[in-house]
């Protein structure tokens, strides 16, 4: 293996650590300091504000529903892409990644154009039948699904490729039908990839901002999520409030990251 000389090694180490420290580590710690600047008590005070509690619980509900939808869709599409042959597979496989590259604002706009009640492609018909998507929970869930769509697929597909279909074929030759093979053989083999994808999706869904901002209407106590609340609190000069809510969100996402990093080695050394 290539051994770099000691000065170069130290230089690279310092460069890497320094860059990450100034760009990520130190800034992230400032939020903790600011949020607890006036003591734990004032930090916890935000939880007594009904608008904040509502925003946090709305965020949680939307994120969980979006993750469940993406979980079912992601595992299904991964199985189809890896285990089956059908025309257009390559195009579909590339398109699945598209949401990663599309701006959240464009996602919001795209959904708006199709589902807004006045003049949307489908929105008018839906509105006539009493279904409202834009400025409601449904639209926010769809926006969140859109942005987090590829995360589970990108985790599960490589693992499905790697384990191959030997075990599934063995199960079928032993008399297992599709359902039994999936629950007893396939799912246990990909479970860490699925968990990893779910945790990443959850983090992404809790933090979605741009797309939700466009489709939600941002109505306090109705469609205002936690991230929208951070923005509005900051812009209305309630900085302590903004930092407190931001701290809660940051805390949740860092927990997600730690969980994932604890899972990862297990997956490698199984």
């Amino acid at each position: 293996m290539l051994e770099v000389s000691t000065p170069v090694k130290w230089l690279l180490r310092l460069l890497a650590v320094g860059y990450v420290f100034f760009l990520v580590a130190w800034p992230v710690t400032t939020i903790v300091r600011t949020a607890f600047a006036d003591g734990v008590g004032s930090m916890l005070e935000v939880f007594t504000d009904p608008a904040t509690v509502h925003a946090l619980s709305l965020t949680l509900q939307i994120a969980i529903q979006a993750v469940v939808i993406n979980l079912v869709f992601g595992v299904t599409i991964s199985l189809l892409l890896v285990r089956y042959e059908f025309p257009g597979k390559r195009v579909l496989s590339a398109l699945i990644d598209l949401p990663m590259a599309v701006s959240p604002v464009v996602v919001g706009l795209a959904l708006l154009l199709v589902y807004k009640p006045n003049g949307g492609w489908f929105g008018e018909t839906l509105a006539e039948n009493g279904i409202q998507i834009i400025f409601s929970g449904t639209g926010m869930i769809m926006a969140t699904c859109f942005v987090a769509l590829p995360l589970i697929v990108r985790e599960v597909v490589p693992v499905l490729h790697e384990i191959g279909d030997d075990q599934e074929q063995a199960a079928r030759s032993l008399g297992a039908n599709f359902r039994q093979t999936f629950w007893r053989i396939t799912l246990p083999s990909i479970k860490w990839a699925v968990v990893y994808g779910v945790v990443l999706s959850l983090a992404r869904s809790l933090g979605e901002f741009g797309a939700v901002k466009v489709v939600s209407g941002n109505v306090i106590n109705q469609t205002q999520t936690a991230t929208l609340l951070v923005e509005s609190k900051y812009e209305s000069f309630d900085q302590p409030g903004a930092y407190s809510v931001a701290f809660v969100l940051a805390f949740l996402s860092v927990i997600c990251i730690v969980v994932v990093s604890l899972l990862r080695p297990k997956e490698i050394h199984k």
């Binding site: 030997d166 074929q169 063995a170 199960a171 030759s173 008399g175 007893r184 053989i185 083999s189």
Partner: protein
């Protein structure tokens, strides 16, 4: 007949993996599908198991048309080259899988698993994970797993291909003994002619998607249907107009026999009890390649053959010969 395959054809693009194959495999026997890699033997086995589908033709198992049945309804046991163990289950759970799918009562499952692990000598490993087993042990576990569901036929796809030579030989003997005990109709794929000759009751030679010959090991060795079968089942050398096995070349140190080919020993190699010679024929008899000859060490010593000796070669009486193809 246990397995009846008729007019089976399978194409991958322009490539014929199987080209109008017809084979009957008898009940209760141990049959080898033998041939070079890529010749279509694994494809045939997988179509019999239902893991691949043919483009044309039929497969029937014990008189039932299985062509359109999914694998889980064929009641075949399949053993894969790379074991296909269920990595997240213990050895006992692996073996129990097929029985649990069939909703066999718990006590019965336990009893059967115990018996089978006994049969494959893995009783003490019942609670281990497959990753703690050696390759040979994993393959024995896979075999027990396949046998647990009491399959009509047992299909093995290069079962010893991923194992090292010594374990391979052990498992080969063990499979033969196991078959004598269990008597389930068994078909295994191999590209190793020695393995097929040692273990099988009957051998089906498959090459380029076609069946070249079907017969007992002795029949194939003694009466090869064509040049390919002869070449595939053992070493072949060319002596004048015929091809024959190197140990069927008779060596003399004096020009006694009519029609003997004179030549000079250009290489002599002793391997264990054998001596392998390369003999360059005199130019007027000259085929371009030297003739390979195998004789026992004591025979070689009695003839006093060494490098540069002048020898006369004939085909032994009763030797299996086929006409040589046009020299390339």
């Amino acid at each position: 007949m246990s397995i009846e395959v008729s007019n089976l054809t399978k194409k991958y693009g322009d490539f014929y993996a199987l080209d109008d194959v017809n084979v009957s495999l008898p009940t209760g026997q141990l049959t080898a599908l033998l041939g070079p890699s890529g010749g279509g033997k694994s494809t045939l086995l997988r179509i019999i198991a239902g893991l691949d589908t043919a483009d044309h033709g039929n497969v029937s198992i014990e008189g039932v048309d299985a062509t359109k049945l999914p694998p889980q309804k064929r009641n075949v046991g399949f053993v894969f080259q790379h074991y296909a163990v269920f990595k997240h289950m213990t050895v006992a759970k692996n073996v129990a899988f097929g029985l649990e799918i069939r909703k066999t009562p718990k006590a019965e499952v336990k009893r059967r698993v115990g018996e089978l692990l006994e049969l494959v000598h893995l009783s003490q490993f019942a609670d281990r994970m497959p990753s703690q087993l050696s390759g040979g042990q994993r393959q024995r576990m896979a075999l027990a797993r396949a046998l647990a569901v009491e399959p009509t036929v047992l299909l093995l796809d290069e079962p010893f291909g991923a194992l090292d030579a010594k374990v391979r030989k052990e498992l080969r003997d063990w499979l033969r003994r196991l078959h004598d005990e269990v008597h389930v109709t068994t078909v295994f794929v191999t590209h190793d002619q020695e393995e097929a000759m040692e273990v099988a009751d009957e051998i089906v030679v498959i090459n380029q998607g076609r069946v070249e010959q079907v017969g007992s090991p002795d029949q194939l060795y003694d009466e090869p249907a064509n040049d390919f079968v002869m070449g595939f089942l053992g070493e072949v050398t060319r002596l004048g107009p015929v091809r024959l096995r190197p140990h069927d070349v008779e060596v003399a140190v004096t020009p006694g026999h009519a029609g003997a080919f004179p030549g000079t020993v250009t290489r002599a190699l002793r391997v264990g009890f054998e001596v392998r010679l390369q003999v360059e024929l005199d130019p007027e008899f000259g085929s371009s390649d030297p003739v390979s000859v195998v004789l026992s060490r004591s025979h070689a010593r009695s003839l006093d053959i060494e490098l540069g000796s002048k020898v006369w070669l004939t085909a032994a009486i009763g030797a299996v010969t086929v006409p040589a193809m046009v020299a390339v």
